[in-house]
Amino acid sequence: MDDLFAVPRGWLESFGEIVKFCARILGDIASLRVFKYFGEVLRQAGILIVSSTLVIWGLVFIIGLQCGIEGAYFDRSVGVPAYAGVFAAWCDLRELVPLCFGYMMAAKVGTGIVAEIGSMRISDEIDALEVMGISGVTFLCATRLLGSMLVLPFVYLCSIGAGFFASYLAVVQQIGDVSSGGYFLIFWQFQNPPDVLYSLIKAMAMAIVIVLVGCYYGYTATGGPVGVGTATAKSMVFNIVSVHVIGMLGTQLFWGANPRAPIGG
């Protein structure tokens, strides 16, 4: 029986460790300790803008095109081509933009954090920091999280713009079953301003989890370069699952009781 529960017990233990570690990082931000290293926060924010923004927008743009094209052809097939804007208003904003943002965050930012911090761990750089009287968790992890929190809301709002723009291009300019005015009439009818906020909350929850998980796996990496590789892979698995779980829970929470489409039943 012990063997039977060994694996789930191991998962629970790891999960508990991750939660404890994340609480430390969040504590560093809440207690404002991280502001001792505000220069590093700005540096991390800058790195995020320069190295990850375009690739996130690029992926969201492509998914916006896909959503627009498929929506337009589906609506044409059921005889309501003018309603193609529904797909952009719902599918883009509520599901696909947050998911694609989460995928790219996990693939580009999350793995990058694991690899960087993990390499620092195995080459004693984190120990060197600690010996200099600088907390590795605060300097390496809390600064990255705060940097992300400062930058990512704007990156995400622009991502929504990129997704919407791509869907508009596909539906109105490429397929052309509906006029620009007709498209926007339906597009705006099927969304409310709070939807953008909900979508933003979903994406930020994903981003925070991804950065925290990346920091955890990097900070606790052991076993040389192979260990860093394993930690990177593990973080990717954890993050992709988390992105979907957050996506599902967010949809249930924010739109589950929507009378126009009661997803929650």
Binding site: M120, S123, D124, D127, V131, M132, G133
Partner: protein
């Protein structure tokens, strides 16, 4: 005692506070029992003798135990690092020397027992106090542990920028002085991956020095270096220690600069050490001023310091 420290001044009678009581080292009067699970035979060569250093200890291990899984590393270690000396922690590979260093700076905590730095217990310190205490230390890691994203100059300037309010001009002055001392003044803009192993060690040394710590620890500074470079690094360690001793005395600092070098290179120990702790099977075999240790009649110490294959230390 006729032995002299790295400054060339006699150790006995050169106490930091001038009090004979401060000269007392961790002298053991009764022979400790072997650690749990070990036989008396395994520890037959441990005489636990501690020759007096004439100085107070700035770092003390008190019956410290540490295991990693089933691997018992420190098994009741009682050891002192005397103030103002270049101490060596010598011992066969895998005997817990680097683990000792990590305990001193609170990167590892003992399973039981205590580690004290300047009289304060490291395991009992809250985080804030621990980070403050660590500022008293400089640590040279085996491979230098330079930050790979920064060039040499920024690496050495990093502790100053984080912990002091000095202007960039003052920082540059200090950094360039330290880099020049270790012979790397011309490489300030190079990244760590553009440097050789020896250069990385010297750069790590410069970084460890910039905050003028009370205690400087060296984790196998000779690993991966050729014999000539090892000798040169040893000389550099002695020279810097001498310089720091003069400064500390001139400034009347409360603690004289203490260097502790972890190594298994006997030649370095002979050249550099004022004081030697010999560690085996997680405990000190014998400890004392270098001259006493080199004249020791303990068979393990004799074999180890002579680097001979015949003796109590085997491949097992």
């Amino acid at each position: 005692m006729s032995f002299e420290d790295s400054e060339g001044t006699p150790i006995a009678g050169d106490l930091a506070d001038g009090s004979p009581a401060a000269a007392a080292g961790p002298e053991l009067t009764t022979r400790p029992a072997p650690p749990p699970g070990a036989s008396e035979e395994e520890y037959a060569n441990h005489s636990y003798k501690v020759y007096p250093s004439g100085r107070r200890n700035v770092v003390e291990f008190d019956n410290t135990y540490k295991s990693f899984g089933r691997n018992q590393i420190l098994r009741g270690l009682t050891m002192g690092i005397p103030e103002g000396m270049v101490s060596m922690i010598l011992g066969p590979s895998g005997t817990g020397k680097s683990v000792c260093i990590k305990h001193m700076v609170g990167l590892l905590y003992p399973d039981s027992g205590d580690v004290r730095v300047q009289g304060e217990s490291v395991p009992d310190m809250p985080d804030e106090q621990l980070f403050e205490m660590r500022k008293k230390f400089g640590l040279l890691f085996q491979d230098g542990a330079l930050f790979s994203s920064m060039n040499l100059y920024d690496n050495v300037a990093f502790p100053l920028r984080q912990h002091t309010e000095k202007s960039e001009q003052e920082i540059e002055e200090i950094v360039m002085r330290r880099l020049t001392e270790v012979g790397l003044g011309y490489s300030r803009d190079k990244l760590p991956n553009e440097l050789s192993g020896g250069m990385r060690k010297r750069a790590g040394f410069a970084r460890a020095l910039v905050l003028e710590p009370d205690i400087l620890l060296f984790d196998e500074p000779d690993s991966g270096l050729d014999p000539v470079r090892t000798a040169l690094l040893g000389e550099l360690i002695l020279e810097i220690h001498r310089e720091m001793m003069e400064d500390a005395k001139a400034q009347k600092k409360p603690y004289l600069p203490t260097f502790a070098v972890v190594t298994h290179d006997i030649m370095s120990a002979r050249r550099v050490a004022d004081y030697i702790n010999v560690l085996w099977r997680g405990r000190i075999v014998e400890a004392g001023p270098a001259q006493d240790m080199l004249n020791s009649d303990n068979p393990f110490i004799r074999q180890f310091l002579a680097g001979e294959s015949q003796g109590p230390l085997t491949m097992d």
